[in-house]
Symmetry: C2
Subunit: 312 residues, 2 copies
Protein backbone atom coordinates (compact mmCIF):
# COMPACT_ATOMS: atom_id res chain seq x y z
CA UNK A 1 0.00 0.00 0.00
CA UNK A 2 1.12 3.50 -0.83
CA UNK A 3 0.10 5.19 2.39
CA UNK A 4 0.94 8.84 2.91
CA UNK A 5 0.45 10.51 6.27
CA UNK A 6 -0.11 14.26 5.90
CA UNK A 7 0.33 16.46 8.96
CA UNK A 8 -1.47 19.79 8.55
CA UNK A 9 0.00 22.81 10.29
CA UNK A 10 -2.03 25.47 12.04
CA UNK A 11 -2.25 27.59 8.86
CA UNK A 12 -4.37 24.89 7.21
CA UNK A 13 -7.20 25.86 9.58
CA UNK A 14 -6.57 29.39 10.84
CA UNK A 15 -4.55 32.17 9.22
CA UNK A 16 -2.49 34.69 11.14
CA UNK A 17 -4.60 37.61 12.36
CA UNK A 18 -7.91 35.78 12.21
CA UNK A 19 -10.06 35.63 15.36
CA UNK A 20 -11.13 32.06 14.83
CA UNK A 21 -14.78 32.22 13.81
CA UNK A 22 -16.30 29.07 12.40
CA UNK A 23 -16.70 30.75 9.01
CA UNK A 24 -12.98 31.66 8.82
CA UNK A 25 -11.87 28.20 9.82
CA UNK A 26 -14.26 26.38 7.53
CA UNK A 27 -13.25 28.58 4.59
CA UNK A 28 -9.54 27.89 5.18
CA UNK A 29 -10.27 24.19 5.39
CA UNK A 30 -12.12 24.20 2.05
CA UNK A 31 -8.93 25.65 0.51
CA UNK A 32 -6.81 23.02 2.28
CA UNK A 33 -8.91 20.02 1.27
CA UNK A 34 -8.81 21.06 -2.37
CA UNK A 35 -5.02 20.59 -2.17
CA UNK A 36 -5.48 17.26 -0.44
CA UNK A 37 -7.92 16.12 -3.12
CA UNK A 38 -5.24 16.82 -5.77
CA UNK A 39 -3.01 14.34 -3.95
CA UNK A 40 -5.76 11.76 -3.57
CA UNK A 41 -6.32 11.98 -7.33
CA UNK A 42 -2.67 10.97 -7.78
CA UNK A 43 -3.58 7.64 -6.18
CA UNK A 44 -2.23 8.11 -2.66
CA UNK A 45 -4.10 6.73 0.30
CA UNK A 46 -3.83 9.59 2.73
CA UNK A 47 -4.27 9.80 6.45
CA UNK A 48 -4.72 13.34 7.73
CA UNK A 49 -3.50 14.70 11.05
CA UNK A 50 -3.77 18.30 12.22
CA UNK A 51 -2.86 20.72 14.98
CA UNK A 52 -5.33 22.28 17.43
CA UNK A 53 -3.35 24.94 19.31
CA UNK A 54 -5.55 28.00 18.77
CA UNK A 55 -8.74 25.92 18.95
CA UNK A 56 -7.87 24.27 22.25
CA UNK A 57 -6.80 27.68 23.55
CA UNK A 58 -10.22 29.10 22.66
CA UNK A 59 -11.94 26.12 24.29
CA UNK A 60 -10.00 26.68 27.53
CA UNK A 61 -10.97 30.36 27.42
CA UNK A 62 -14.63 29.30 27.09
CA UNK A 63 -14.30 26.86 30.02
CA UNK A 64 -12.83 29.65 32.11
CA UNK A 65 -15.38 32.32 31.11
CA UNK A 66 -18.33 30.04 31.97
CA UNK A 67 -16.85 28.42 35.07
CA UNK A 68 -19.43 29.86 37.47
CA UNK A 69 -22.25 28.58 35.23
CA UNK A 70 -21.08 25.13 34.08
CA UNK A 71 -18.15 23.04 35.33
CA UNK A 72 -14.94 23.56 33.33
CA UNK A 73 -13.46 20.40 31.80
CA UNK A 74 -9.85 19.28 31.92
CA UNK A 75 -7.48 19.99 29.02
CA UNK A 76 -7.60 16.44 27.65
CA UNK A 77 -11.36 16.85 27.18
CA UNK A 78 -10.74 20.09 25.29
CA UNK A 79 -8.50 18.00 23.05
CA UNK A 80 -11.32 15.54 22.41
CA UNK A 81 -13.76 18.38 21.68
CA UNK A 82 -11.44 20.01 19.14
CA UNK A 83 -10.91 16.65 17.43
CA UNK A 84 -14.67 16.46 16.96
CA UNK A 85 -14.86 20.07 15.77
CA UNK A 86 -11.88 20.15 13.39
CA UNK A 87 -12.47 16.60 12.18
CA UNK A 88 -16.05 17.51 11.34
CA UNK A 89 -14.94 20.53 9.30
CA UNK A 90 -12.29 18.55 7.40
CA UNK A 91 -14.54 15.60 6.68
CA UNK A 92 -17.44 17.74 5.53
CA UNK A 93 -15.23 19.89 3.29
CA UNK A 94 -13.50 16.82 1.87
CA UNK A 95 -16.78 15.04 1.15
CA UNK A 96 -17.98 18.20 -0.61
CA UNK A 97 -14.78 18.38 -2.65
CA UNK A 98 -15.18 14.71 -3.58
CA UNK A 99 -18.77 15.34 -4.70
CA UNK A 100 -17.55 18.17 -6.98
CA UNK A 101 -14.80 15.97 -8.44
CA UNK A 102 -16.94 12.83 -8.62
CA UNK A 103 -14.53 10.91 -6.37
CA UNK A 104 -16.14 7.98 -4.56
CA UNK A 105 -14.11 7.56 -1.35
CA UNK A 106 -15.43 7.62 2.19
CA UNK A 107 -14.01 9.91 4.83
CA UNK A 108 -14.10 9.62 8.60
CA UNK A 109 -12.70 11.26 11.68
CA UNK A 110 -11.60 8.78 14.34
CA UNK A 111 -11.33 10.23 17.85
CA UNK A 112 -7.77 9.30 18.81
CA UNK A 113 -6.04 8.69 22.14
CA UNK A 114 -2.25 8.60 22.24
CA UNK A 115 -0.38 6.87 25.04
CA UNK A 116 2.42 8.74 26.76
CA UNK A 117 4.78 7.43 29.45
CA UNK A 118 3.69 8.59 32.89
CA UNK A 119 7.37 8.67 33.84
CA UNK A 120 8.16 10.99 30.93
CA UNK A 121 10.46 13.73 32.33
CA UNK A 122 8.21 16.30 30.64
CA UNK A 123 5.71 15.80 33.48
CA UNK A 124 8.20 17.36 35.87
CA UNK A 125 8.89 20.24 33.54
CA UNK A 126 5.72 21.69 32.00
CA UNK A 127 6.63 24.13 29.21
CA UNK A 128 3.66 24.50 26.88
CA UNK A 129 1.49 27.61 27.55
CA UNK A 130 -2.22 26.96 27.14
CA UNK A 131 -5.53 28.80 27.56
CA UNK A 132 -6.26 32.33 28.77
CA UNK A 133 -3.91 34.94 30.20
CA UNK A 134 -4.59 35.78 33.84
CA UNK A 135 -3.98 38.97 35.80
CA UNK A 136 -1.86 38.83 38.96
CA UNK A 137 -4.89 39.41 41.17
CA UNK A 138 -6.62 36.34 39.70
CA UNK A 139 -3.82 33.92 40.55
CA UNK A 140 -4.95 33.11 44.09
CA UNK A 141 -8.44 32.16 42.89
CA UNK A 142 -6.98 30.09 40.02
CA UNK A 143 -4.72 28.12 42.34
CA UNK A 144 -7.64 27.54 44.71
CA UNK A 145 -9.78 26.21 41.84
CA UNK A 146 -6.95 24.26 40.20
CA UNK A 147 -4.34 23.38 42.84
CA UNK A 148 -2.42 21.20 40.35
CA UNK A 149 -1.90 23.89 37.69
CA UNK A 150 1.55 25.36 37.02
CA UNK A 151 1.33 29.06 36.17
CA UNK A 152 4.16 31.10 34.66
CA UNK A 153 4.74 34.79 34.00
CA UNK A 154 4.47 34.82 30.19
CA UNK A 155 6.96 37.45 29.04
CA UNK A 156 5.11 40.34 30.65
CA UNK A 157 1.87 39.60 28.74
CA UNK A 158 0.23 38.15 31.83
CA UNK A 159 0.19 34.86 33.69
CA UNK A 160 -0.49 31.64 31.93
CA UNK A 161 -0.85 27.98 32.62
CA UNK A 162 1.86 25.69 31.26
CA UNK A 163 1.43 21.96 30.68
CA UNK A 164 3.84 19.12 29.91
CA UNK A 165 4.58 18.05 26.35
CA UNK A 166 5.45 14.36 26.70
CA UNK A 167 6.66 12.10 23.93
CA UNK A 168 3.96 10.06 22.14
CA UNK A 169 4.40 6.29 22.44
CA UNK A 170 1.45 4.51 20.85
CA UNK A 171 -1.88 5.23 19.13
CA UNK A 172 -4.71 3.50 21.02
CA UNK A 173 -7.06 3.37 18.02
CA UNK A 174 -4.42 2.16 15.55
CA UNK A 175 -6.28 -1.06 14.56
CA UNK A 176 -9.40 0.83 13.59
CA UNK A 177 -7.43 3.40 11.59
CA UNK A 178 -5.47 0.60 9.88
CA UNK A 179 -8.64 -1.19 8.81
CA UNK A 180 -10.19 1.94 7.37
CA UNK A 181 -7.03 2.84 5.46
CA UNK A 182 -6.80 -0.71 4.13
CA UNK A 183 -10.39 -0.35 2.93
CA UNK A 184 -9.45 2.83 1.03
CA UNK A 185 -11.13 5.29 3.35
CA UNK A 186 -9.57 8.64 4.11
CA UNK A 187 -9.04 8.91 7.85
CA UNK A 188 -8.61 12.05 9.94
CA UNK A 189 -6.86 11.04 13.17
CA UNK A 190 -4.53 12.16 15.93
CA UNK A 191 -5.96 15.68 15.90
CA UNK A 192 -3.87 18.05 18.02
CA UNK A 193 -1.34 15.26 18.57
CA UNK A 194 -4.04 13.00 20.00
CA UNK A 195 -5.69 13.01 23.41
CA UNK A 196 -2.85 12.23 25.84
CA UNK A 197 -3.44 9.22 28.08
CA UNK A 198 -1.19 7.37 30.49
CA UNK A 199 -1.39 3.71 31.45
CA UNK A 200 -1.81 3.05 35.15
CA UNK A 201 -2.46 -0.43 36.47
CA UNK A 202 -3.47 -1.43 32.96
CA UNK A 203 -6.04 1.36 32.62
CA UNK A 204 -6.00 4.39 30.34
CA UNK A 205 -6.31 7.75 32.08
CA UNK A 206 -6.55 11.11 30.31
CA UNK A 207 -3.88 13.61 31.38
CA UNK A 208 -3.49 17.34 30.98
CA UNK A 209 -0.68 17.60 28.49
CA UNK A 210 -0.09 18.54 24.86
CA UNK A 211 1.52 16.09 22.47
CA UNK A 212 3.40 17.58 19.54
CA UNK A 213 1.28 16.84 16.48
CA UNK A 214 4.25 16.06 14.22
CA UNK A 215 5.69 13.56 16.68
CA UNK A 216 2.26 11.95 17.06
CA UNK A 217 1.97 11.85 13.26
CA UNK A 218 5.23 9.91 13.14
CA UNK A 219 3.81 7.33 15.54
CA UNK A 220 0.75 7.04 13.34
CA UNK A 221 2.78 6.80 10.11
CA UNK A 222 5.15 4.21 11.58
CA UNK A 223 2.38 2.13 13.17
CA UNK A 224 0.48 2.18 9.85
CA UNK A 225 3.55 1.19 7.85
CA UNK A 226 3.18 4.33 5.72
CA UNK A 227 5.82 4.77 3.03
CA UNK A 228 5.79 8.56 3.12
CA UNK A 229 5.05 11.27 5.62
CA UNK A 230 4.57 14.90 4.60
CA UNK A 231 4.45 17.79 7.06
CA UNK A 232 2.74 20.86 5.59
CA UNK A 233 3.52 24.24 7.09
CA UNK A 234 3.90 27.93 6.13
CA UNK A 235 7.50 27.86 4.88
CA UNK A 236 8.99 26.37 1.71
CA UNK A 237 10.87 23.65 3.52
CA UNK A 238 13.79 23.08 5.90
CA UNK A 239 16.36 25.85 5.97
CA UNK A 240 19.92 25.82 7.27
CA UNK A 241 20.96 28.97 9.12
CA UNK A 242 17.30 30.07 9.01
CA UNK A 243 16.70 33.80 9.41
CA UNK A 244 20.37 34.68 8.85
CA UNK A 245 22.00 36.18 5.72
CA UNK A 246 23.28 32.65 5.00
CA UNK A 247 19.89 30.93 5.08
CA UNK A 248 19.51 28.23 2.42
CA UNK A 249 16.76 25.78 1.64
CA UNK A 250 17.55 22.06 1.81
CA UNK A 251 16.08 20.39 -1.26
CA UNK A 252 17.15 16.82 -0.72
CA UNK A 253 19.02 15.21 2.12
CA UNK A 254 19.31 11.95 4.00
CA UNK A 255 18.95 10.68 7.51
CA UNK A 256 22.61 10.98 8.53
CA UNK A 257 22.92 14.47 7.15
CA UNK A 258 19.72 15.81 8.70
CA UNK A 259 20.68 14.29 12.06
CA UNK A 260 23.99 16.14 11.85
CA UNK A 261 22.24 19.45 11.06
CA UNK A 262 19.75 18.81 13.85
CA UNK A 263 22.58 18.18 16.33
CA UNK A 264 24.25 21.40 15.15
CA UNK A 265 21.18 23.33 16.27
CA UNK A 266 19.86 24.50 12.91
CA UNK A 267 16.21 23.87 13.82
CA UNK A 268 14.32 25.77 16.50
CA UNK A 269 12.55 23.87 19.28
CA UNK A 270 9.30 25.75 18.80
CA UNK A 271 9.02 25.47 15.02
CA UNK A 272 11.15 23.35 12.67
CA UNK A 273 12.75 21.27 15.44
CA UNK A 274 9.88 18.84 16.15
CA UNK A 275 9.12 18.53 12.42
CA UNK A 276 12.67 17.43 11.65
CA UNK A 277 12.68 15.19 14.72
CA UNK A 278 9.46 13.53 13.55
CA UNK A 279 10.90 12.85 10.09
CA UNK A 280 14.15 11.51 11.59
CA UNK A 281 12.15 9.06 13.71
CA UNK A 282 9.94 8.11 10.77
CA UNK A 283 12.91 7.25 8.55
CA UNK A 284 14.76 5.47 11.37
CA UNK A 285 11.62 3.37 11.91
CA UNK A 286 11.41 2.23 8.30
CA UNK A 287 9.74 5.10 6.41
CA UNK A 288 10.99 5.61 2.87
CA UNK A 289 10.61 9.38 2.47
CA UNK A 290 9.87 12.38 4.63
CA UNK A 291 8.76 15.67 3.15
CA UNK A 292 8.48 19.07 4.79
CA UNK A 293 7.00 21.83 2.66
CA UNK A 294 4.48 24.60 2.16
CA UNK A 295 0.77 23.83 2.42
CA UNK A 296 0.13 25.81 -0.77
CA UNK A 297 2.40 23.41 -2.67
CA UNK A 298 1.08 20.17 -1.22
CA UNK A 299 0.93 18.47 -4.63
CA UNK A 300 4.06 20.17 -6.03
CA UNK A 301 6.01 18.88 -3.04
CA UNK A 302 5.10 15.37 -4.10
CA UNK A 303 5.41 15.54 -7.87
CA UNK A 304 7.59 18.51 -8.73
CA UNK A 305 10.27 18.24 -6.08
CA UNK A 306 9.17 21.34 -4.14
CA UNK A 307 9.85 21.38 -0.40
CA UNK A 308 12.52 19.41 1.44
CA UNK A 309 12.82 15.68 0.78
CA UNK A 310 14.57 13.48 3.28
CA UNK A 311 15.47 9.86 2.47
CA UNK A 312 16.87 7.10 4.67
CA UNK B 1 -24.22 -10.69 11.30
CA UNK B 2 -25.94 -10.23 14.61
CA UNK B 3 -25.72 -6.46 14.82
CA UNK B 4 -27.38 -4.67 17.73
CA UNK B 5 -27.67 -0.89 17.80
CA UNK B 6 -27.88 0.42 21.35
CA UNK B 7 -29.15 3.96 21.91
CA UNK B 8 -28.05 5.32 25.28
CA UNK B 9 -30.32 7.81 27.00
CA UNK B 10 -29.13 10.87 28.86
CA UNK B 11 -28.97 8.97 32.18
CA UNK B 12 -26.13 6.83 30.78
CA UNK B 13 -23.90 9.92 30.98
CA UNK B 14 -25.41 12.34 33.46
CA UNK B 15 -27.74 11.65 36.39
CA UNK B 16 -30.52 13.96 37.50
CA UNK B 17 -29.21 16.67 39.82
CA UNK B 18 -25.60 16.47 38.70
CA UNK B 19 -23.92 19.65 37.49
CA UNK B 20 -22.05 17.94 34.67
CA UNK B 21 -18.42 17.86 35.75
CA UNK B 22 -16.09 15.63 33.77
CA UNK B 23 -15.63 13.38 36.81
CA UNK B 24 -19.38 12.83 37.22
CA UNK B 25 -19.88 12.07 33.55
CA UNK B 26 -16.87 9.79 33.27
CA UNK B 27 -17.93 7.88 36.37
CA UNK B 28 -21.45 7.35 35.02
CA UNK B 29 -20.01 6.16 31.74
CA UNK B 30 -17.80 3.59 33.45
CA UNK B 31 -20.98 2.15 34.99
CA UNK B 32 -22.72 2.21 31.62
CA UNK B 33 -19.93 0.51 29.68
CA UNK B 34 -19.78 -2.31 32.19
CA UNK B 35 -23.36 -3.12 31.18
CA UNK B 36 -22.46 -2.84 27.52
CA UNK B 37 -19.50 -5.19 28.01
CA UNK B 38 -21.89 -7.80 29.46
CA UNK B 39 -23.79 -7.67 26.16
CA UNK B 40 -20.63 -7.83 24.06
CA UNK B 41 -19.65 -10.97 26.00
CA UNK B 42 -22.92 -12.52 24.83
CA UNK B 43 -21.55 -12.29 21.27
CA UNK B 44 -23.41 -9.24 19.96
CA UNK B 45 -21.70 -6.80 17.68
CA UNK B 46 -22.88 -3.54 19.11
CA UNK B 47 -22.99 -0.05 17.70
CA UNK B 48 -23.45 2.64 20.34
CA UNK B 49 -25.36 5.89 19.93
CA UNK B 50 -25.98 8.45 22.65
CA UNK B 51 -27.74 11.71 23.47
CA UNK B 52 -26.00 15.04 24.09
CA UNK B 53 -28.69 17.40 25.36
CA UNK B 54 -27.14 18.62 28.61
CA UNK B 55 -23.64 18.59 27.10
CA UNK B 56 -24.57 20.67 24.08
CA UNK B 57 -26.47 22.99 26.40
CA UNK B 58 -23.34 23.50 28.50
CA UNK B 59 -21.28 24.08 25.36
CA UNK B 60 -23.70 26.78 24.17
CA UNK B 61 -23.50 28.40 27.62
CA UNK B 62 -19.69 28.43 27.30
CA UNK B 63 -19.89 29.96 23.80
CA UNK B 64 -22.18 32.64 25.18
CA UNK B 65 -20.12 33.39 28.31
CA UNK B 66 -16.90 33.83 26.30
CA UNK B 67 -18.41 35.61 23.30
CA UNK B 68 -16.52 38.87 23.86
CA UNK B 69 -13.22 36.92 24.06
CA UNK B 70 -13.50 34.26 21.36
CA UNK B 71 -16.07 33.91 18.58
CA UNK B 72 -19.02 31.67 19.49
CA UNK B 73 -19.60 28.72 17.16
CA UNK B 74 -22.89 27.61 15.65
CA UNK B 75 -24.94 24.85 17.23
CA UNK B 76 -23.90 22.19 14.70
CA UNK B 77 -20.28 22.73 15.76
CA UNK B 78 -21.31 22.25 19.40
CA UNK B 79 -22.75 18.94 18.22
CA UNK B 80 -19.41 17.95 16.69
CA UNK B 81 -17.56 18.96 19.86
CA UNK B 82 -19.80 16.91 22.11
CA UNK B 83 -19.41 13.90 19.81
CA UNK B 84 -15.65 14.18 20.36
CA UNK B 85 -16.08 14.64 24.11
CA UNK B 86 -18.66 11.95 24.83
CA UNK B 87 -17.19 9.53 22.29
CA UNK B 88 -13.80 9.90 23.95
CA UNK B 89 -15.25 9.09 27.37
CA UNK B 90 -17.15 6.05 26.12
CA UNK B 91 -14.25 4.66 24.09
CA UNK B 92 -11.74 5.13 26.90
CA UNK B 93 -14.03 3.56 29.50
CA UNK B 94 -14.89 0.69 27.17
CA UNK B 95 -11.24 -0.01 26.34
CA UNK B 96 -10.50 -0.03 30.08
CA UNK B 97 -13.39 -2.43 30.73
CA UNK B 98 -12.11 -4.68 27.93
CA UNK B 99 -8.61 -4.67 29.45
CA UNK B 100 -10.08 -5.79 32.80
CA UNK B 101 -12.12 -8.54 31.14
CA UNK B 102 -9.36 -9.55 28.68
CA UNK B 103 -11.59 -8.83 25.68
CA UNK B 104 -9.65 -8.09 22.49
CA UNK B 105 -11.94 -5.85 20.45
CA UNK B 106 -11.14 -2.40 19.11
CA UNK B 107 -13.35 0.60 19.79
CA UNK B 108 -13.71 3.83 17.88
CA UNK B 109 -15.79 6.96 17.79
CA UNK B 110 -16.70 8.06 14.28
CA UNK B 111 -17.71 11.72 13.99
CA UNK B 112 -21.10 11.45 12.27
CA UNK B 113 -23.08 13.79 10.04
CA UNK B 114 -26.75 13.07 9.42
CA UNK B 115 -28.57 14.46 6.39
CA UNK B 116 -31.90 16.17 6.94
CA UNK B 117 -34.27 17.52 4.28
CA UNK B 118 -33.91 21.28 3.94
CA UNK B 119 -37.63 21.39 3.12
CA UNK B 120 -38.49 19.60 6.34
CA UNK B 121 -41.47 21.49 7.86
CA UNK B 122 -39.57 21.52 11.19
CA UNK B 123 -37.44 24.34 9.82
CA UNK B 124 -40.49 26.59 9.83
CA UNK B 125 -41.47 25.55 13.32
CA UNK B 126 -38.51 25.44 15.71
CA UNK B 127 -39.55 23.77 18.97
CA UNK B 128 -36.42 22.45 20.72
CA UNK B 129 -35.06 24.77 23.49
CA UNK B 130 -31.26 24.92 23.57
CA UNK B 131 -28.50 26.74 25.46
CA UNK B 132 -28.70 29.41 28.17
CA UNK B 133 -31.71 31.24 29.53
CA UNK B 134 -31.72 34.98 28.77
CA UNK B 135 -33.22 37.88 30.66
CA UNK B 136 -35.65 40.19 28.88
CA UNK B 137 -33.12 43.04 28.80
CA UNK B 138 -30.61 40.84 26.96
CA UNK B 139 -32.92 40.01 24.07
CA UNK B 140 -32.15 43.07 21.96
CA UNK B 141 -28.41 42.34 22.08
CA UNK B 142 -29.01 38.65 21.28
CA UNK B 143 -31.10 39.42 18.24
CA UNK B 144 -28.45 41.89 17.05
CA UNK B 145 -25.72 39.22 17.40
CA UNK B 146 -27.85 36.40 16.03
CA UNK B 147 -30.54 37.84 13.76
CA UNK B 148 -31.61 34.34 12.66
CA UNK B 149 -32.34 32.98 16.15
CA UNK B 150 -35.88 32.26 17.30
CA UNK B 151 -36.35 33.06 20.99
CA UNK B 152 -39.31 31.96 23.11
CA UNK B 153 -40.56 32.76 26.58
CA UNK B 154 -39.80 29.45 28.33
CA UNK B 155 -42.61 28.96 30.86
CA UNK B 156 -41.61 31.97 32.94
CA UNK B 157 -38.08 30.65 33.57
CA UNK B 158 -36.59 33.16 31.12
CA UNK B 159 -36.13 33.46 27.40
CA UNK B 160 -34.56 30.73 25.40
CA UNK B 161 -33.52 29.92 21.89
CA UNK B 162 -35.49 27.20 20.08
CA UNK B 163 -34.21 25.27 17.09
CA UNK B 164 -35.86 22.92 14.58
CA UNK B 165 -35.87 19.17 15.11
CA UNK B 166 -35.99 17.78 11.56
CA UNK B 167 -36.32 14.15 10.61
CA UNK B 168 -33.05 12.29 9.94
CA UNK B 169 -32.73 10.92 6.41
CA UNK B 170 -29.29 9.37 5.92
CA UNK B 171 -25.99 8.84 7.75
CA UNK B 172 -23.15 10.39 5.73
CA UNK B 173 -20.44 8.17 7.26
CA UNK B 174 -22.42 4.93 6.93
CA UNK B 175 -19.81 3.13 4.75
CA UNK B 176 -17.06 3.67 7.27
CA UNK B 177 -19.24 2.55 10.17
CA UNK B 178 -20.34 -0.52 8.20
CA UNK B 179 -16.76 -1.57 7.50
CA UNK B 180 -15.73 -1.23 11.11
CA UNK B 181 -18.72 -3.21 12.34
CA UNK B 182 -18.00 -5.89 9.73
CA UNK B 183 -14.45 -6.06 11.06
CA UNK B 184 -15.77 -6.65 14.59
CA UNK B 185 -14.97 -3.22 15.97
CA UNK B 186 -17.29 -1.50 18.41
CA UNK B 187 -18.35 1.82 16.92
CA UNK B 188 -19.69 4.87 18.73
CA UNK B 189 -21.60 6.96 16.19
CA UNK B 190 -24.47 9.41 15.67
CA UNK B 191 -23.77 11.12 18.98
CA UNK B 192 -26.57 13.52 19.88
CA UNK B 193 -28.53 12.36 16.85
CA UNK B 194 -25.65 13.26 14.55
CA UNK B 195 -24.48 16.63 13.27
CA UNK B 196 -27.40 17.86 11.14
CA UNK B 197 -26.49 18.75 7.56
CA UNK B 198 -28.62 19.67 4.57
CA UNK B 199 -27.78 19.05 0.91
CA UNK B 200 -27.73 22.15 -1.26
CA UNK B 201 -26.53 22.02 -4.84
CA UNK B 202 -24.89 18.72 -4.04
CA UNK B 203 -22.93 20.10 -1.09
CA UNK B 204 -23.31 19.30 2.60
CA UNK B 205 -23.93 22.28 4.86
CA UNK B 206 -24.16 22.15 8.66
CA UNK B 207 -27.41 23.57 10.05
CA UNK B 208 -28.51 24.67 13.50
CA UNK B 209 -30.97 21.98 14.46
CA UNK B 210 -31.25 19.02 16.82
CA UNK B 211 -31.99 15.56 15.48
CA UNK B 212 -33.74 13.18 17.84
CA UNK B 213 -31.13 10.60 18.81
CA UNK B 214 -33.55 7.66 18.73
CA UNK B 215 -34.76 8.51 15.24
CA UNK B 216 -31.15 8.90 14.08
CA UNK B 217 -30.33 5.55 15.71
CA UNK B 218 -33.09 3.97 13.62
CA UNK B 219 -31.49 5.34 10.45
CA UNK B 220 -28.16 3.89 11.57
CA UNK B 221 -29.67 0.51 12.51
CA UNK B 222 -31.60 0.26 9.25
CA UNK B 223 -28.70 1.38 7.05
CA UNK B 224 -26.44 -1.14 8.82
CA UNK B 225 -28.95 -3.95 8.42
CA UNK B 226 -28.97 -4.47 12.19
CA UNK B 227 -31.27 -7.25 13.41
CA UNK B 228 -32.04 -5.59 16.74
CA UNK B 229 -32.23 -2.12 18.15
CA UNK B 230 -32.38 -1.44 21.89
CA UNK B 231 -33.19 1.95 23.40
CA UNK B 232 -31.97 2.27 26.99
CA UNK B 233 -33.62 4.81 29.24
CA UNK B 234 -34.63 5.42 32.87
CA UNK B 235 -37.95 3.52 32.89
CA UNK B 236 -38.67 -0.21 32.77
CA UNK B 237 -40.17 -0.10 29.29
CA UNK B 238 -43.17 1.16 27.38
CA UNK B 239 -46.29 1.81 29.48
CA UNK B 240 -49.86 2.21 28.40
CA UNK B 241 -51.77 4.93 30.23
CA UNK B 242 -48.47 6.04 31.77
CA UNK B 243 -48.72 8.04 34.99
CA UNK B 244 -52.37 7.14 35.49
CA UNK B 245 -53.87 4.65 37.98
CA UNK B 246 -54.28 2.30 35.00
CA UNK B 247 -50.63 2.37 33.91
CA UNK B 248 -49.37 -1.01 32.73
CA UNK B 249 -46.07 -2.14 31.26
CA UNK B 250 -46.08 -3.68 27.79
CA UNK B 251 -43.90 -6.78 27.85
CA UNK B 252 -44.28 -7.97 24.29
CA UNK B 253 -46.12 -6.51 21.36
CA UNK B 254 -45.98 -6.24 17.60
CA UNK B 255 -45.81 -3.56 14.97
CA UNK B 256 -49.54 -3.28 14.29
CA UNK B 257 -50.40 -3.15 17.97
CA UNK B 258 -47.79 -0.55 18.90
CA UNK B 259 -48.83 1.61 15.94
CA UNK B 260 -52.37 1.49 17.25
CA UNK B 261 -51.29 2.50 20.78
CA UNK B 262 -49.11 5.23 19.29
CA UNK B 263 -52.04 6.59 17.28
CA UNK B 264 -54.19 6.50 20.43
CA UNK B 265 -51.76 8.93 22.08
CA UNK B 266 -50.28 6.68 24.76
CA UNK B 267 -46.73 7.99 24.29
CA UNK B 268 -45.62 11.55 25.03
CA UNK B 269 -43.87 13.62 22.35
CA UNK B 270 -41.02 14.64 24.64
CA UNK B 271 -40.23 11.23 26.11
CA UNK B 272 -41.56 7.82 24.97
CA UNK B 273 -43.03 9.12 21.69
CA UNK B 274 -39.84 9.34 19.61
CA UNK B 275 -38.56 6.04 21.08
CA UNK B 276 -41.66 4.18 19.97
CA UNK B 277 -41.61 5.99 16.62
CA UNK B 278 -37.98 4.94 16.10
CA UNK B 279 -38.78 1.28 16.81
CA UNK B 280 -41.85 1.40 14.56
CA UNK B 281 -39.69 2.69 11.71
CA UNK B 282 -36.96 0.15 12.44
CA UNK B 283 -39.37 -2.80 12.26
CA UNK B 284 -41.17 -1.40 9.20
CA UNK B 285 -37.76 -1.15 7.51
CA UNK B 286 -36.84 -4.78 8.12
CA UNK B 287 -35.58 -4.92 11.71
CA UNK B 288 -36.44 -8.12 13.55
CA UNK B 289 -36.80 -6.84 17.13
CA UNK B 290 -36.98 -3.53 18.93
CA UNK B 291 -36.41 -3.27 22.67
CA UNK B 292 -37.05 -0.35 25.01
CA UNK B 293 -35.91 -0.82 28.59
CA UNK B 294 -33.99 0.39 31.59
CA UNK B 295 -30.26 1.08 31.29
CA UNK B 296 -29.62 -0.80 34.53
CA UNK B 297 -31.08 -3.94 32.94
CA UNK B 298 -29.31 -3.74 29.59
CA UNK B 299 -28.38 -7.41 29.62
CA UNK B 300 -31.58 -8.61 31.33
CA UNK B 301 -33.59 -6.89 28.60
CA UNK B 302 -31.83 -9.09 26.07
CA UNK B 303 -31.68 -12.43 27.86
CA UNK B 304 -34.30 -12.41 30.58
CA UNK B 305 -37.19 -10.72 28.82
CA UNK B 306 -37.03 -7.51 30.87
CA UNK B 307 -38.20 -4.31 29.15
CA UNK B 308 -40.60 -4.03 26.25
CA UNK B 309 -40.04 -6.21 23.19
CA UNK B 310 -41.60 -5.27 19.91
CA UNK B 311 -41.61 -7.64 16.95
CA UNK B 312 -42.67 -7.11 13.32
Amino acid sequence: MNILVIALGGNAILKRGERGSYEEQYYNITETVSKLADIIELGYRIVITHGNGPQVGATMIRYDAAKTLVPPFPLHVAGAETQGFIGYMIQQALVNEFIKRKIDISVATVVTQVIVDRNDPAFNNPTKPIGPFYRKEELQEISRLHPDWVIIDDAGRGYRRVVPSPDPKRIVEIDVIKRLVKDDSIVIACGGGGIPVIEKEGQLIGVDAVIDKDLASERLATQLGASKMMILTDVEGVYLDYNTPHQRLLRETNLDEIKKYHAEGHFKTGSMGPKVKAIIRFLANGGSEGIIGHLEKAKENLVEGEGTHIFP
